[in-house]
């Protein structure tokens, strides 16, 4: 261990350390000026972004292989930090409006982000577990942020109990994998499996349990039951952050563990992941159809999208396709993050102080009253459906191509058919906005609007010129994971 090891986790140290400092500083910030805390949190995130960018292209293992710094981790860390910036901008006015403005919000958000940063560069199952918990525990508190409102309480309790339940599976799974391979280091596992010094039964059950634990985190069917209730009950700004951040964090761990550490055991987890992907896509999209509340609708939509990203795992079980599948998964994560943050931004703008304004019917007449906002929402809905020229189309295109290259034609077909089904409920929002009359009450807050404009621009821009992002993923995001 030397000072270079600490440089390797610098973004994590900055975010976690800054959150701890802010916890103290926040005591001296008057209750009606918590915007200062938000501003300071943003400064910390910018410093962390600078730290990530400054070590682009560097590859090394730190702390005896516990931490891996590579393109994969840097790329995801940038994504997480970007999501964090947008989440803070979205939360600022919303918290005031709902009268729950407290400085701890931004601090908990930073802590959760630090867990995601750690997750991206985890090189050992111990670190994976720590990162999952560091990511989740602040989110439990954030979901409860509007206590004593009943919805927030219920959301937090469900999220906490099921999240902790999932952690139980994750830890037991890690214990079994450790027992089977004799190590918790991801790199050591590859060697152990290759040399056949493992107990296959333990490895099978163990990797299955890890899949269950992380499946809960990313809301994959059949571990999705908590998602609609938690997303609906939590304050919307929290939902926006966790629907993107927690999911991307979960997938960072899934990709790292299954593709880089357990490729030798692909025969075991390939059928499992395949069925999870198919079921998740089907159930998420079918259940979304009957929803009338937009938060629940987007919750089922986020389940469905977890299914799409999950397809990358069975595809990556074919070694030749693995780099392409990981690339597609990373691209899809960016796609999903941009589009979903935008859609939640519009939901935030439509939500009224007392928490109404959340049914799809409330969007009637938005096309006339606020054409720009309606246009942005239409763009997000089209992108979630996967219609060109939005980024959602490119994301699905690369993902389906990877799946077909891995010769899983039927899985790609499930993906296409469920995308068609999803058009029904996404397009319904557009129909309601433009073809029904109504007088929606809409907020216009500078910070929130700027996040919507930014994400709408990203949705459109990367839809037309995906090459820029692809280039970045090819250069940076690749693929030291598969050394």
């Amino acid at each position: 261990m030397d000072w270079q090891d600490f440089l390797s986790v610098l973004p994590f140290i900055i975010v976690a350390g800054w959150a701890t400092i802010l916890l103290l500083v926040d005591l001296w910030i008057p209750a009606n000026r918590k915007g200062i805390t938000a501003g300071l949190a943003v400064l910390g995130l910018i410093a962390a972004i600078a730290a990530v960018i400054s070590r682009f292209g560097i590859e090394r293992e730190a702390f005896d292989g516990m931490i891996i710094v590579d393109g994969f981790s840097s790329f995801l860390q940038l994504l997480f930090l970007g999501v964090g910036l947008i989440a803070i901008a979205q939360a600022y006015d919303y918290l005031r409006r709902r009268d729950i403005e407290r400085g701890e919000y931004y601090i908990l958000l930073l802590y959760s982000l630090s867990g995601m940063l750690l997750m991206a560069s985890a090189g050992d199952l111990i670190v994976v577990f720590l990162a999952v918990e560091l990511l989740s525990i602040p989110l439990y508190v954030l979901a409860a942020f509007a206590i004593p409102q009943a919805d927030s309480e219920e959301s937090a309790l469900k999220y906490f109990l099921l999240g902790a339940f999932a952690s139980g599976f994750l830890v037991y799974g890690i214990a079994l994998v450790y027992g089977s391979t004799g190590t918790t280091a991801l790199s050591g596992m590859v060697a152990a499996i290759a040399s056949a010094e493992t107990t296959p039964v333990l490895l099978f059950i163990g990797s299955g349990m890890i899949l269950v634990g992380l499946g809960f985190k990313v809301a994959a069917v059949p571990f999705h039951m908590w998602t609609p209730d938690v997303y609906q009950g939590a304050p919307t700004s929290v939902t926006s952050f966790m629907s993107v951040g927690a999911k991307a964090g979960g997938f960072a761990a899934l990709l790292r563990i299954f593709i880089s550490a357990l490729p030798g055991a692909a025969v075991m987890w390939m059928p499992l992941t395949m069925w999870i992907a198919a079921l998740t896509m089907a159930w998420g999209n079918i259940a979304a159809i009957s929803q009338t509340n937009i938060k629940r609708m987007l919750a089922y939509s986020s389940i469905a999208h977890a299914g799409y990203i999950f397809m990358a795992l069975p595809a990556a079980a074919t070694p030749e396709v693995a780099p392409e599948a990981v690339r597609a998964a990373l691209f899809y994560l960016v796609t999903y993050a941009i589009t979903n943050l935008g859609a939640w931004g519009v939901v935030l703008a439509m939500e009224k102080a007392e928490g109404s304004g959340l049914t799809i019917e409330d969007y009637s007449g938005l096309g006339k009253k606020r054409p720009a906002l309606a246009l942005a929402m239409a763009l997000f809905m089209l992108s979630l459906t996967g219609v060109p020229p939005t980024v959602g189309f490119m994301g699905k295109f690369y993902l389906f191509r990877a799946v077909i290259d891995a010769n899983l034609i039927w899985l790609a077909l499930v993906g296409v058919v469920t995308s068609l089904i999803s058009a029904y409920y996404y397009l319904r929002v557009i129909v309601v906005m433009y073809m029904r009359d109504g007088e929606p009450e809409v907020r216009s807050e500078a910070l929130l609007n700027s996040t919507i404009i930014l994400t709408a621009f990203g949705t459109f821009f990367f839809g037309i010129l995906p090459g820029l992002l692809i280039k970045m993923i090819n250069q940076v995001g690749l693929l030291d994971l598969l050394r």
């Binding site: 111990i126 577990f129 720590l130 918990e133 525990i137 439990y140 508190v141 409860a144 206590i147 004593p148 009943a150 919805d151 309480e153 219920e154 959301s155 937090a156 309790l157 469900k158 906490f160 109990l161 902790a164 339940f165 952690s167 139980g168 599976f169 830890v171 037991y172 890690i174 214990a175 079994l176 450790y178 027992g179 004799g182 190590t183 918790t184 280091a185 609609p228 209730d229 609906q232 009950g233 929803q291 009338t292 509340n293 629940r296």
Partner: protein
Amino acid sequence: MNIPPAYVLTLSGILFALGVIGVLIRRNAIVIFMSIELMLNSANLALIAFARTFAPAQEALRGHVFVFFVIAVAASEVAVGLALIVAIFRSKESIDVDEVSSLRG
């Protein structure tokens, strides 16, 4: 006297199963939470048992260290979880999870 690791592993498997069953069938939030703790601690037992089969190799230490991490994380989960349960009890006078269930769709 030496207890074979297989015995310890069997015990940890039974405890884990009891934890899962407890989470699924009990309705009191605190009892559910206790069952979750049982799951975490059964994993600790498994880790220690495996570590003993690897001893004296270096790899045994990973199991031992992980156990400490799990204990620490479980403690922080208790802090957050019990705070949450207390807050809910204050407003609802109940911590029955079936009564904390108004979100539907």
